[in-house]
Amino acid sequence: MRRLALLLAVAAAIAPVTPPVRAQQLLEWTPKEIDAVGQHGPWPPNPVRDPTNRVSGNPAAIALGRALFFDPRLSGREAACSACHLPSLGWSDGNKRGHGAVELDRRTPSLWNVGFRKWFGWDGSADSLWMQSIRPITDAREMAGSVELTARLLREDATLACGYRKAFGEAPAGSDEKLMVDAAKALAAFQETLVTPRTPFDDFRDALVRGDRAAAARYPVDAQRGLKLFIGTGNCSACHFGPTFTNGEFGDVGIPFFVRPGEVDNGRFGGIERLQASPYNLLGRFNDDPSPASSVRTRHVEKQHRNFGEFRVPGLRQVGRSGPYMHDGSVAKLEDVVTHYSEVSPDRLHSDGVPIVRALGLSAGEKGDLIAFLRSLDTDIPTLLPAPPVCP
């Protein structure tokens, strides 16, 4: 008994001292504000199931897609998808602009939460994740692969062919184009699994919605003030809406169009043209969903003059760790993004009514609050688990 008491005393003496919990403050939140905060959750949503992709959510397809994602043989220049979408850099590359076979005009977008999007690419030129997955593989400026190369890889590599049979229930046969699309669907099935974990914001949001003031008060006060700005006078949530912090559409936020002297990136305007010209859009024969519901956006989107220079509104989860920013990587730091929205020139933005994007004129304190909130959307990412076997 005395030995036990001694052990307990020693254990108490060497136990790490728990730092005192710092008392926090819960700001006053109106019912309208609580409703607005609640719109940004819950998180995570239900897993993605894309009806246009018959192997969406299929574990064998996810394993095959993961293998393809890291396989440089898909490329004509020995560069896998993961050469630009690096897991260690938030599935992007940290560069101002993407580097494929040449330097590209736009930043490599992060793939976090990509499965929840409705439009893909900065210009929305793809209406499904599998359609989007075809373009960089076959684009001579990016991976410089081809439909034929991808099809041959699936047919001739024994492991991939076996993985294909497990995922699609048949041998990799048929046209090269069919196999290209199926490879893209497996790649999409894998990318749909890239979902960010919960963040400090999510804990606050849930506590606020259920009325747990003590739990909500653990959220830093500067982040609370920043969140109030975000959903209030800043009107950021008009576009950065919902659990993923994007309405999935497009906007012009005052970034110059010119990619080099005399040449512009027309953004969504050209994206709609490319979408409508592609045989791989959801109105085509490769859509696995027999119902018209999944293609309603594609049927009804039409390019408008104002689409010129619009780019996809990015989600904000992991935003503090995903710079540089904007579609062209022209803004280096998160602090610079906030300054941009604080000082954006009205001359650059065309609006007949109350502009959605306007110079917010933030004080230094307000900028700090907004950044504190945005950084509360970041969280540490667990190490990527070892890849499951494609074909046991």
Partner: protein, 142 residues
């Protein structure tokens, strides 16, 4: 991510949009669009009964409007065009809706998407007896 309470709130909002319900009901226009609920927009000449499908309009989610178009005197009326804008920002939708006339006399307006939260305004052009009239109705989408 559906919110039944918000759906109920919307339904109540739709009915509260009819300040003079008795006058509306008195006209020869089938207000019941199949689910016993709907929104009525009317002027001295025309009446429109609308029901969103799905009933809850959510930000960024495509929806359809099921509609009846009538005159208050029971003459044939036609839905000619429909659009939606955010009056404060003076911008419209990113999608072009399509009007489909059904054999049951109802219209289906497909491809509507309110891509931002806030106040939207439906703009409806109707025609009867050779005369055009524009009707509008405001909706708040959260």
């Amino acid at each position: 991510m559906k919110h039944p309470t918000r759906a109920l709130a919307l339904a109540l909002t739709l009915f509260s949009a009819m300040p003079n319900l008795s006058e509306a009901l008195a006209a020869d226009c089938p207000l019941d669009l199949g689910h016993g609920t709907g929104l009525v927009v009317y002027t001295q000449r025309h009446m429109l009964a609308l029901r969103p499908e799905p009933l809850l309009i959510e930000v960024g989610i495509p929806f359809t409007l099921i509609m009846n178009v009538c005159t208050k005197r029971g003459e044939p009326a036609e839905l000619v065009a429909i659009d939606a804008t955010m009056p404060a920002h003076k911008h419209g939708m990113n999608y072009t809706p399509k009007i489909v006339a059904g054999v049951d006399g109802r219209y289906r307006v497909e491809g509507l998407v309110f891509h931002m939260p806030g106040e939207w305004e439906l703009v409806l052009d109707v025609r009867s007896g050779g005369e055009m009239e524009r009707l509008t109705h405001g909706l708040v989408v959260k």
